[in-house]
Symmetry: D2
Subunit: 276 residues, 4 copies
């Protein structure tokens, strides 16, 4: 068989081993999830069912890869952190990146019905992924803070925006011209003029302004919003005593704590070292 | 908001742009598909339903990525070839690799029922992926030949092996000791002694030997096996006239031709250049 | 000895093998050579002695590395082209890049006196280097054309600029204010106002304009300038008969031909394949 | 001018930015320095003049690159360590690697006469270089220890080996057959049989054995060898008071201390942070 004469093409596969002794972060993002969310009638600004599905897919990844220390998710993205001495697949980047991406993607698809109930999955979704190294705890913690700061910024904006739109506070006269109504999908119709006014209203505002709009105009206290909306979800392993016999077991837990506070990282020092 | 103070961590994402003007190949492999195939009662040595599902998932990828010239699949692997001047995602490796991996993976999961019918999908499967560059047509063609040569080698071996095992030609006396029978899964049980004998029987044989075993002992002419089993599946785009009006349309077709022959590549010169 | 306990740090050296079957180009550039040229009284716009030293350093590199097909130099830069099936140092990028850079740099220093005569070398010069892959002859030829086009553009500009400055055609009245004279180095002094006027004069001109200035105002026919100034220097290997006995020997030759013409590459097809 | 039509080839230059916030180490090695040392009559096992030239070339590199924290040299190799927040050349690997390699190489050539006196430099030497990242102080310190442990291992071996050879303790009868004498270079001739016997004698010995051979047979106390031979040379910056006015100046100093002791690193914590 002419096998050997073609096998030289394997030499074109180049080594992509990652620098040892650094934290490997894989971050996934939903591809075209604005459209995907519309197509599947996700509630705005947050759909709790969809977030729970994201978390469950991430849990299913964490369970499979014991070298993963943490997962952090928000909206349509999820980050996974490998322990720094991880040697899975000899730290080959493509192998680590694609197995995480694939497992998360198929889990999201497979467990859809468990969380979205009546809402049928209309087509296979997809996620892109990237892989980034952080050389020390400080930069890794800042990475986690960066993603959580992002949740806050986006969620406060989205909550205020959709409240302005959905509560219809904008008077008829304000909407008297340029009023196009389109049907986004089954049963949802939005007034483009209102969308435009909401965007304009929020332009240049800071956090305090948005909190005030919510409170003064809609009697909504942003602090009372669900923690999962405001802070995203952190998954990590925890050793617990399972019974009186002092036996210990490792479970994966989810929390919605404030990771921007340095006290969080002091209280969770073992996040970086827990045996998996 | 403290956004800016954390955003520096983005700098740790390094550029992974691929060399321009080279063929980009993404190859996916099923992860632990020996076990997956057993768990889902795939027929041995080939399960036509499972191969059709692979092809359909690949078709769904080809349809989404118009820069893909070809796909070639066999068993639990699939290769995708981007045109050499592809500029999708500015040729960033991780982006190309993960979107292909994710879309293929979710399509495989999503379309499972369409092909596997009564056989329930028991858990989310996963695929790993790698990305390789080929600088010229010669090396790319040799890549395609390498994969197809692999189909032939594996399939002839597997066909002979499983015929030896399933047709039970090995006499009871041969199996008189060390005879452990285990249930692999619902309804399937194999005699480990027979598996071992089949492996031993094929050790050191060449193609001609295996053809002869099949023909003389089991009256099976290997040439009559399905082309999809012997050669895998090549997907590519083809421009066809859809009606008498001379209008042209591009469709994705699948063939099971012999790519080891140079005449194939002469006849399909447009594979490398077809407009998508 | 505690050797083994530290040797793990070798694992941090990552593989940097270059894609096989592609042309490897190493390009060197003088670091701070504007200042270096001033410090060493290089003639402007071109110093023939300095160019010959560059060529000799390049020749000394070509002689040492038999996998090099070509060298092309101009001003303070030199490009070296490895044959596409080069397997020197297993195609490790850093190894190829640094040995070329180092040998060129030390040769430039070592042979200084051979070409610069009385002009003493005042301090060790340095060069930076980069490594680039070209996947096919077309892109490689375009690379060579790009560098030669650059010679032409720069040299026509510099020749006109320095003629304007050195021939002092700018009248005293034009130079009547803001006339600072500084001594650049031993014996060279320039009038900054004249430098400024020359630059202003050339702003927005095209090739034809510059040719005309040279010819009409200074009676200089640019075509008569030395080929080495207008086209740079190409080094390559050539098989020649050394005597009547039909014995063949490989020598390194330098030419100053027009590589922008496609006929050049037709006439020199063996540049890409010559046995070294 | 056809400039623009060729300039696309610049796109083939790929980004090689190094991971931020990691220690960048560049290590240079003399190419074929066994031969180079013989050609230039270096004293064995150590030539103090040659080591001083290496150190001076390294000093000349340190002076030019203020982002370098340390240099460590032994034999024909030198390592340079950039501070971890170095942003020189935007951390582009090839740029950092080649400018260091080039400057060191030309300095070695340029300052040859300053240290080697009557011994003429016969041809341009060359050095190869590699670039490695260390993510934290621990791995960087282990890198430094690794190189210094290497000095010790090599120097003890070489000292014993050349003492055995040069002191001619091997009796004439031992050398009675196979006695080839060759002239390595001007004035140096070695008996190959003696070289062979010396190698055989040291095979399998540990440090203690070599110390004993030196002491018992040749009355040499290895501890009394020069520190520069036993430990190599560490260059680093130090802030000193230059006069009574309390003004501070930064100088580059060389030491030959024991870096294998952890106390060294405790005493020199500022090596990683000193302002340059």
């Amino acid at each position: 068989m002419a096998k050997s004469s073609f096998e030289y093409v394997k030499k074109f596969e180049l080594d992509d081993t990652l620098l040892p002794n650094t934290w490997i972060v894989v971050r996934l993002d939903g591809k075209c999830f604005h459209k995907f969310a519309d197509d599947h009638n996700f509630k705005k600004p947050n759909d709790l069912r969809a977030l729970k599905l994201m978390n469950y897919a991430a849990f299913s990844v964490m369970r499979d890869f014991s070298d993963l220390l943490m997962g952090f998710g928000q909206s349509d993205e999820y980050s996974f952190v490998f322990k720094k001495d991880c040697n899975l697949y000899k730290r080959r980047a493509a192998k680590l990146l694609t197995t995480i991406t694939s497992k998360f993607s198929t889990s999201y698809t497979y467990y859809w019905n468990k969380f979205l109930g009546d809402q049928q999955l209309l087509y296979p979704p997809s996620f892109d992924g990237r892989i980034v190294l952080y050389p020390n705890e400080d930069t890794l913690i800042d990475y986690m803070k960066w993603r959580q700061a992002d949740v806050h910024i986006n969620n406060l904006y989205n909550t205020t925006f959709w409240t302005l739109v959905q509560e219809g506070k904008l008077s008829p006269t304000q909407a008297s011209f340029n009023c196009y109504v389109i049907t986004l999908n089954k049963g949802h119709s939005f007034n483009f003029y209102i969308l435009f006014q909401a965007e304009k209203r929020l332009c240049g505002t800071v956090s305090a302004d948005k909190n005030e709009i919510l409170f003064k105009e809609f009697n909504i206290n942003y602090n009372n919003e669900l923690e999962i909306f405001k802070r995203g979800t952190l998954l990590f392993r925890k050793n617990i005593n399972i019974d009186e016999s002092n036996k210990c077991s490792t479970v994966i837990v989810d929390v919605h704590d404030d990771m921007l506070k340095d006290s969080f990282w002091k209280d969770h020092k073992d996040l970086f070292t827990i045996k998996s």
